[in-house]
């Protein structure tokens, strides 16, 4: 099972096993990480905003136009910001590192 490294806003790294096919947001919520994910993964908000480790960013499928529209509404955007409800776990992403953003 692939693992995902989540870096919290306080700098702590949590490494979690993730089932292929889940979204990174679903993995975060299932493990009770501090993330709002207010819309539940329907691509209707930006509260699952994470910063993807630059080494991993280019290995992801690029964001859709709809995701870009919602990233417009996210605070503290960086060049490797993504909405993690749009990132599907796969073997190719084994070991990906994402940093959570503040909940408010």
């Amino acid at each position: 099972m692939p693992v995902i490294h989540f870096v919290t806003t306080s700098g702590e790294t949590l490494t979690l096993a993730a089932e292929n096919g889940r979204s990174i947001m679903e993995v975060a919520k299932a493990n009770d990480l501090p993330m709002l994910a207010a819309c539940g993964g329907a691509l209707a908000c930006a509260t699952c905003h994470v910063i993807v480790d630059p080494e991993w960013y280019d290995r992801l499928d690029p964001p859709s136009e709809d995701e870009e529209d919602l990233l417009d509404t996210a605070h503290g955007l960086t060049p490797t910001s993504r909405l993690c409800c749009q990132i599907r776990v796969s073997d190719a992403l084994d070991g990906i590192r994402v940093t959570l953003t503040p909940m408010d």
Binding site: C45, E68, D69
Partner: protein, 183 residues
């Protein structure tokens, strides 16, 4: 100064274009996700010099004397910085539920959600009910449909708290109609 690229940001920029001495719209990319007509109007006003588009920039810092805004510092993702004098900043970002003081009501709020009994909306505090995005329980579906249903569940449960001596008979508005209150 207006920050954002959605309908609210663009609508306000257009609405204020005639009354403000200067309007800057700061947005992180070329595309605006506002309705095509309003986007087109924004670009017309920009071409006419009524609105300054500050693209691709994001908010970085505010300057002021502690009471009044003096300037807004904006930055590109590459770190290029500009300082733009401004009297007001209107920020139009996002959708996020913020519980604010409700966090301190002792309802066990966690990650922005208050646990409730899904059949009644009852929180851990007697007589306090929660419905909609703020209310959580296992396998909740975040749908408007769900929110409406939760409202009906909570209203029925709350009726018994407000009117402990009155029976509440179940009805459908489609057959019983909607009660009209005499004013």
């Amino acid at each position: 100064m207006i920050a954002g690229g959605g309908d609210s940001a663009v609508d306000w920029a257009i609405a204020l274009a005639d009354s403000a001495a200067e309007i800057h719209v700061i947005h992180r990319r070329e595309q605006f996700r506002a309705a095509p007509e309003t986007s087109a109007r924004l670009h017309e006003l920009a071409a006419a010099g009524k609105i300054q588009l500050v693209i691709p920039y994001q908010l970085a810092a505010l300057e002021g004397d502690g009471e009044r805004l003096a300037a807004v510092i904006v930055k590109t993702l590459k770190g290029e910085e500009r300082r733009i004098a401004a009297d007001h900043l209107l920020a139009f970002f996002g959708l996020a539920s913020k519980l604010g003081p409700i966090n301190d009501w002792g309802l066990g709020a966690h990650n922005g959600v208050i646990p409730v009994d899904p059949s009644t909306g009852a929180t851990s505090a007697p007589g306090v009910f929660a419905i909609g995005d703020i209310a959580g329980y296992p396998r909740k579906l975040k749908l408007i449909l769900t929110g409406f249903a939760e409202a009906a569940h909570a209203a029925h449960a709350a009726y018994a708290v407000v009117h402990p001596d009155r029976a509440l008979h179940f009805e459908h508005s489609t057959t019983a109609g909607v009660p009209i209150r005499e004013s």
